[in-house]
Symmetry: C2
DNA sequence: TTGTAGGCGTTATCAA
DNA sequence: TTGATAACGCCTACAA
């Protein structure tokens, strides 16, 4: 079965390719009867137009792309639903494009803008501290959504929506301090790893400092793993296990993600300990499992739906008003107190 | 900044587009100096070729696409890693293409084959009971991987790799029966929902039958939810809550996915009950959380890495040997006994 | 080693 | 309402 082209259909119908094109694209200037006949043949042969040719020739598309780095990250699940719903509600086509870990998301965006003649772009995940200057090669509006990136970059060059990782990290560690914990371990990721680990570590340090708790490097835990999957339950489990087997004393753990926190809890259980009676454990993100775990995990809930909605709102604003002004929105995270943390003096 | 084309680069370099094309595509017949100069300009202006034009013109690509329906499903995470690794190891380009819930994956495949001049396709997720006949419009090798589809279709028309959902479902329910449970509830999904729920229900029924346990429709639980997200923890929570609040007597729950099982456990905890002391809970899939939950959840582990590896192996076989023979491989699931199930007579 | 010209499959323009 | 023709951006014979 050779690949059909519009010419084949035109020949079979005894009309010109132009007419077939009109039928396919719902042009008004075509006879209903002719159109029906053509659509019948198209259906019969299951003809599907070549998108490369269409994209190449068309002046514009109606597509908004969501570029996501780390598609398997649970954290993005609910955001994707919002993006899809909002984009379709506004009569645009939704294109979800996963970006590989080793790809530069801006290059991908430039490429995709050309290839699909995009109307707008949402960046999800990824870290822009490198190559922000490349953003100038984008000719359509875009918004960075929850991408951790360094503070140094000039933010008047782009719009973003996110939470303040430093502040939220501070918030939850401060909460642990206020519960009376003074030996708080943090499960983070290797410093070399380009991600939000660093910022959350700063928040941790500052919270300790403000609570007059000396910083102890022995409480900062991480390890290198081959698959570089640092935000997995397994990673949390392994790092927590090493911590438990060390002779480092601690009464609480701050894991920089909920998945890590889950792994840490399991490590404690497996070593015969209890959460929160023996150790308090806190996470970060507020994904489903934090709520459904047993015990439920104290965490910082990132308002993901709101972040997504605001991101897309800003994008539409730029799209409709042709505004050059870049908008920035920082959402507050919410401290969700679960069953996994208790005051130090209530410990068993 | 207007979108650059190959012509712009050619003009800036004072050469023809052909020469620029040669530089881009690493053709041998080009002067090293010329090439360097061109690449320099390309880098300076961050020129990125238009993929639509390339795809249109090129005779063939080197791309293998993985079409996945339900990209947010945890279940696929590890499979994706295998696919990516194996495809790249074999010097092909990996293209991950999410398929929306309301899209027909075969139409998407036909479209993508043309657009990207694909070499091969892996289908992940989705249900093929409808429109299998459309598969004949595909001109490249493809393999169905873990897609639940009805048994009726003639399987000599395509290759697939999967587990026997009926058998595995039977296996775990039989295990519950052998533990002495006779009132086993199943948390499934609405019958109207096109998915594996039905097959797993059959396995449940057959296991009961073989253990001389009467089937009680009151123990088959599901509900309609607006977002149609049936495999969420929340769904499991809600259905289990209704079950607990009903006056239906039961001692064990078989949830047709681990995520549902997690939700069910939480519902039991919230109602003051214990797992497994008051109720045994079993899941299905063997995703991370089944292992890391507290208690760990008894489940059927689907050998996802093996499934992925075998799928891609078959695809390469078809690719290299040009074989028309369709291969079928059914993997056994593994019953993982966790802490969430105990014998009926050990119940508190 | 480089350039010219034609065409990939489709849509846009213009004329009929 | 329809059709002929050019053009989208790129690659590739073929010619120089």
């Amino acid at each position: 079965m050779p690949l059909l082209t519009i010419k084949d259909i035109a020949r079979k119908c005894g009309v010109s390719v132009t007419t077939v094109s009109r039928a396919i694209n719902n042009h008004p200037d075509i006879n209903e009867k002719t159109k029906e006949r053509i659509m019948q043949v198209i259906k019969e042969y299951n003809y599907i137009p070549n998108n490369s040719a269409r994209n190449l020739k068309r002046i514009e598309s109606n597509t908004i792309a969501v570029l996501i780095k780390g598609i398997t990250n649970q954290f993005f699940n609910k955001m994707l639903k919002v993006f899809e719903a909002e984009i379709e509600k506004n009569k645009y086509d939704f294109l979800l494009h996963p970006v590989e870990e080793d790809e530069n998301e801006i290059d991908v965006a430039i490429s995709l803008e050309k290839e699909k003649k995009l109307k707008g772009i949402i960046f999800l995940g990824g870290y822009f501290s490198h190559s922000v200057d490349k953003l100038k090669y984008l000719n359509v509006p875009f918004v960075l959504s929850t991408g951790g990136f360094s503070e140094e970059v000039e933010s008047d060059k782009y719009s973003y929506v996110m939470v303040d990782d430093f502040k939220e990290s501070y918030k939850i560690v401060d909460y642990l301090c206020k519960l009376g914990h003074r030996r708080i371990a943090i499960i983070s990721v290797p410093e070399s790893s380009q991600n939000i680990g660093k910022t959350r570590l700063y928040g941790y340090k500052k919270a300790l400092q403000d609570n007059n708790i000396p910083f102890d490097p022995a409480l900062v835990r991480y390890k290198d793993v081959e698959d570089r999957d640092f935000f997995s339950m397994r990673y949390g489990y392994e790092v927590a296990k090493e911590l438990l087997q060390s002779n480092v004393n601690f009464s609480a753990i701050f894991a920089i993600s909920d998945t890590i926190a889950v792994g840490a809890c399991k490590a404690i259980f497996d070593s015969g300990g209890k959460v929160p009676e023996d150790y308090s454990v806190a996470g970060y993100d507020g994904i489903d499992i934090a709520h459904y775990y047993n015990p439920s995990i104290t965490t910082i809930r990132q308002p993901v739906e709101e972040i997504a909605r605001e991101s897309i709102r800003i994008l539409f604003e730029k799209l409709n008003n042709n505004k050059k002004i870049e908008k920035h929105k920082i959402f507050d995270g919410e401290l969700i107190v679960g069953q996994s943390t208790i005051p130090y003096n209530k410990k068993s």
